[in-house]
Amino acid sequence: MLSFDLLDDVRRMNKRQLYYQVLNFGMIVSSALMIWKGLMVFTGSESPIVVVLSGSMEPAFHRGDLLFLTNYHDEPVRVGEIVVFKVEGREIPIVHRVIKIHEKETGVVKFLTKGDNNSVDDRGLYKPGQNWLEQKDVVGRARGFVPYIGMVTILMNDYPKFKYALLACLGLFVLIHRE
């Protein structure tokens, strides 16, 4: 018979089983962290996977799309590429397309970006007095995407209670789940 009494399940566990489940939960968390850090090393980007939060790149990327980034410094930034960049004074990185670059003989590049769905370039988004972006501002370059998968992230950002409820459910499931 199927039992939905979760507390009863926990009560029936002996200490060894409970320790095993806690260890199992720890393994899941640490595995996720290791995968994330591994991706950071492999892609060269501090955020190898990002979620699009606005509609400024529509119809290429919509709100909630999941982007895969790389940031290899030996590959120069070129016009037409979609870059994710961070601006001083702004917490959230921006995903926009490069529309103008100027590169010196030394390899120093300055470039300008614009959202496909925006009517003007991004100079209004940069910090006051900043007219160009540089290589140091780049978090990564878009290499691929999965549509709408990141909607869960947006929901969790918009509704923090939903995030905590989801995490609590997952934690509880791992703890009481037995093979």
């Binding site: 939905f4 290429a60 100027h102 010196k104 370039d121």
Partner: protein, 170 residues
């Protein structure tokens, strides 16, 4: 006997795996396809003015003015993994200040199902063609001279440059 949660978990995991495999299969079906389409570009009037750069940087810069015609059939670039084409026309040149300058003059988004034939005449740049300094005047004079001397070579180079000037997103 497996609990309801275990069964649901297994079903969900299996569904995700199958969907991931199908998605990857869809990606592979066009991953090695060569993308390219013949494009014809003709440059019309070209002129340069040295003026205040009102787009951001302070000081005077060269501002390029030109008109161009674009003719292309991009139907061959579309398949079930291409939802849009982002076309852009770029001016690429070298100046004393910079080894590489790339400026987008015009762009257009073509969605799947829309008309893939482009036949535009007398187009003006969509974005201001400001140089990073005063190197454009010399460059444009050089370009006009080049096109008069080696017109065929110029057309081939422009065509090749635009051949890769699109991005396709799955």
């Amino acid at each position: 006997m497996n609990s309801l949660l275990s069964r649901l978990n297994s079903l969900f995991a299996f569904t995700l795996t199958v969907m991931a495999c199908l998605t990857f299969g869809c990606f592979l079906s066009t991953a090695f396809k060569e993308y390219g389409a013949p494009v014809h570009i003709a440059i019309g009037r070209v002129s340069v003015k040295n003026m205040e750069d009102f787009t951001g940087p302070k000081g005077k810069s060269d501002l390029g003015f030109l008109t161009f015609d674009v003719r292309a059939d991009l139907d061959s670039l579309f398949n079930w993994n291409v939802k849009q084409l982002f076309l852009y026309l770029t001016a690429e040149y070298t100046t004393k200040n910079n080894a590489i300058n790339q400026v987008v003059l015009w762009d257009k988004i073509i969605l799947r199902g829309e008309n893939t034939t482009i036949n535009l005449k007398g187009l003006r740049p969509k974005y201001f063609f400001f140089d990073d300094g005063n190197g454009l005047r010399i460059m444009v004079v050089g370009l006009v001279h080049e096109s008069q001397a080696r017109q065929h070579k110029e057309t081939v180079e422009i065509r090749r440059a635009l051949g890769g000037a699109h991005t396709s997103a799955m």
